[in-house]
Amino acid sequence: MASKETTITAVPEHTVEIITNSGEGAQKCAQIFGQTCAKMGNGVWTVEIIPAEIEPPHHTVTSTSGNIIRFGTDKVTNWGDRSKLAIAFNDQVLLSRHRLDSFADDCIILHESIWENHEDEAIRDGYAKAMKEMSSKNYRFIKVPIEEETLKVVDNAQHGKNMFALGLLTEIYQRDLSIIEKQIAYIFRTKSAKVTELNVELVKNGMAWARENLDFQFIIDSVPAEESRVVMNGNQACALGAIAAGMEICAMYPITPATSVSHELCDIIESYGGMVHQAEDEIAAAGVALGASYGGKVALTVTSGPGLALKTEFLALAIMVEIPLVVLDVQRGGPSTGLPTKVEQSDLLAALYGQPGDAPRVVIAPRTIEECFHSMITARRIAETFRCVVIILTDANLATGVQQFTRPDFDERWQGELIDASPVPEGLRPYDWDHDTGMSRRIIPGTPGGQHTVTGLAHDEESRVSYDPGSNERGQRMRSRKLAVFQSTLMPPPIYGDEEGDLLVVGWGSTQGAIEEAVDRARAEGRKVSSCQLTFLSPLEPGLKEIFSKFRKVMTVEINYSDNLGDPYITEETRRLGQLCWVLRAHTLVDLDCWTSVPGQPLRPNDIYNSIIENIENGSST
């Protein structure tokens, strides 16, 4: 491509992948690119591609590490469909993404040129086989001497190829170099000025190479935002939300993909007067959080599915003794160890019903990264108001996805009020339940005149162990009543689209962006489809039955397992459903259908769209 005409195409959005061996710096490249897009006013969503191992063997299909960046003129709410452009540092990592069907059929693939004629025969063979396997698609392959060009600037290509790749992207998408330079300077601020210089030079080389050798560019318009915005991933948002909510003790045990919440907290919480306690196990983490909350601190424990399973007994205790506790569950694939780094929404039933005995608690699910931040404040407030356990369900999609949102306007009131520690009046009992609401004053140790022993055994108003039928019934009723009272403060969820039609898609949590995009597509074709994204899962938002009744069919879309009708042995009677689907059927007695999938990655709008069309065309009516 020595001489060429450059075709400039304007597109509303694009999805780009950077695919490397782990340790080749794809994250830095993507981080700078994503930040730059955000600063230029594009909507952005980035997703990490994480290998399961820390240092898998290089140049294999299991070593794939990288990032997907979707950016567009408008707000971007999910990772979108297949990628339109990819930069790959070798054929094997590229092949692994091809096998996951990650690329659009017309995807442009810029890939390293040194492998084709490599001196090692095995590498040459592998390359040839990979290219053959991928030839079934209409990808446009462009060989790029990534390593060769990088070595013109630095001695070790391992630490430089990523910046060359960033240069390619900068040129292809006409990004603002001055912003990129600032980002590079920030990322390498702790290193010498020379490091920044070399990295900028690499970017410029990448741009120059693209200018000389590529015959295409894309233009994605952007409108710089008026209000101040921030960009971060969901785990960072949860951590900062916890601090903004005045949380003081986070007790945790390392577990993917929740751990980075505590990394963030460990870095900063002490300068807010709080602490992270890394406990000996998941159980103790819940116990320490509970003990701290018993003492009057605002406590949080952070975990993922397997950890939630271990914490169940302590959560039941917290519910039984009515001590507020916030639990953040960053869901991953299950059951058992499952898919530690991957996305799933399969902890819902465990979060709702995980404990033996009746253990009513509040469960909420943020839908966006912005809501990850704000949900911490709401969770604390609910937990303290109702002396209850609040479980926040996020997932790996929110945890590692990066998106920008309006910078929060911090308010002191988020940090709650001091607990009433004034002397307990004569006659006030530790569980002086208001018999209508189940609510009672929280008395913490140190409060004069309030001495009592809380117990996980059935107890009466004075917190005395009490096995008599009346006390047990009363205690259970009072703990349950609080949920009904809280539910009475909730409002029916908004409907996305018309309030009646042929199909209502009901989702929860992180799938909102993908579902609404799919709904938009179907509506553009004249389909009468709407959606509703639930955020309060226990207690459920009110009015659902009424809402559902306006649609011919209702189905949930979830990232968890359900049987496919028509599979061997799977009938209406044997079919096991998506988790929210179970709950809503029981709650509304409406015959909901579900479409679920467990690919270990976020749902794609197009797949949801297909399920919508299929459901409208084939399904029976509710």
């Binding site: 909510a245 909420i364 943020p366 809501e371 704000h374 949900s375 911490m376 404040i377 709401t378 407030r381 609910i382 108001t385 109702f386 929060p408 308010d411 002191e412 009131r413 988020w414 940090q415 709650g416 009020e417 001091l418 009433d420 609401t437 609510m439 004053r441 009272v485 809280f486 009475s488 403060t489 909730l490 409002m491 969820p493 908004p494 955020t535 309060f536 938002e541």
Partner: protein
């Protein structure tokens, strides 16, 4: 040792007491914030407090009917409570510096300590003002002055229990520790950081049965001082002075309570500022009378009191001379 390091030792020694004090002030400030936020519209407060996540999902008016009611403050009470809040905030903003008193040469130690405690005491008077205002008993003419100063003698028992400790930086010429005796309450702690050659046994003046007294010439942390539950005075002095620890919990008699005792090799017989040689000699005599029970024999060298006596004998011409 560098002055900064010694200041750090001094600050470390008082940090736990002062954190207790500061956290009480911070807790009070938070509580006041709650009180004042309750003066606004409850539903509006609730809509903010519940967070943006609840917006459009939770009916704030209903929700607020289930939250504990913050006592409404009437308009008249708001101004004094805000004034008290400002006092609490200003104390918090000072942080550790609140507890460090730097005495300019020639200034009156007693008066300065009194003033500083009086400033610190405003945390307590702020609480009194808030309480009075809440109960509708606040009188501008009568009570406003409390927020300006609140001297130590007005602190009640539980306030004294929260009294912070002070670090006093001064020059050897001004080091007359006995003036702080009136402030030595059950919970008081003072650390003197003395610049220049001090009177070798200056701190002996504050020794009394219940008071922990430590004169330190080295760079050891003042752990025992910090942990002692009761009045305590320490001084970080130059190496020309004696070092000793008088720990009331170590024994029944004064003698037994001297858990360590070391003397300088020689002492310059010079007046230090206004502190005459004779006066310095009296400090020694006092130390001797407190720490010696009998004429040492035998193992005298390893016995603190014996060491003291032996040393006093070697310095015996001290008492007679003049500057």
């Amino acid at each position: 040792m560098a002055s900064d390091e010694r200041k750090q030792i001094a600050l470390d020694a008082i940090s736990s007491r002062n954190e207790l004090f500061l956290s009480a002030v911070a807790a009070t400030a938070d509580q006041v914030r709650g009180l004042l936020s309750g003066t606004g519209d409850v539903a509006e407060d609730q809509s903010v407090a519940l967070g943006a996540f609840a917006k459009g999902r939770v009916d704030f008016n209903r929700f607020s009917s289930f939250t504990p009611k913050v006592a409404k403050i009437d308009a008249a009470a708001e101004a004094p409570i805000r004034a008290a809040q400002e006092v609490l905030k200003s104390l918090l903003a000072q942080g550790d510096e609140l507890f460090v008193l730097h005495l300019e040469e020639g200034n009156n130690l007693s008066r300065k300590v009194g003033r500083r405690l009086s400033l610190i005491g405003r945390a307590f008077s702020a609480a009194h003002v808030i309480d009075l205002a809440k109960r509708g008993q606040y009188q501008e003419e009568e009570h406003a002055a409390m927020l300006e100063k609140f001297p130590f003698h007005k602190w009640n028992k539980s306030e004294r229990a929260l009294a912070p400790a002070l670090v006093i930086e001064l020059s050897a010429a001004d080091f007359k520790p006995s003036v702080i005796v009136p402030y030595l309450d059950e919970h008081s702690k003072f650390v003197f950081k003395v610049e220049g050659d001090a009177s070798a046994a200056a701190l002996s003046r504050v020794i009394s049965p219940g008071v922990f007294v430590q004169q330190e010439t080295g760079d050891a942390a003042l752990d025992a001082f910090a942990e002692f539950e009761g009045p305590a005075v320490a001084a970080l002095v130059s190496t020309n002075a004696a070092s000793f620890i008088h720990d009331p919990s170590a024994g029944e008699t004064t003698y037994e309570r001297f858990v360590s005792l070391e003397f300088p090799k020689e002492v310059k017989k010079l007046a230090i500022g206004g502190i005459s040689v004779a006066q310095q000699a009296q400090d020694y005599a006092l130390l001797e009378s407190l720490s010696v029970v009998s004429v040492p024999t035998g193992d005298a060298a390893s016995d603190p009191a014996g060491k003291l006596s032996a040393w006093l004998l070697s310095q015996s011409d001290l008492t007679g001379s003049s500057a």
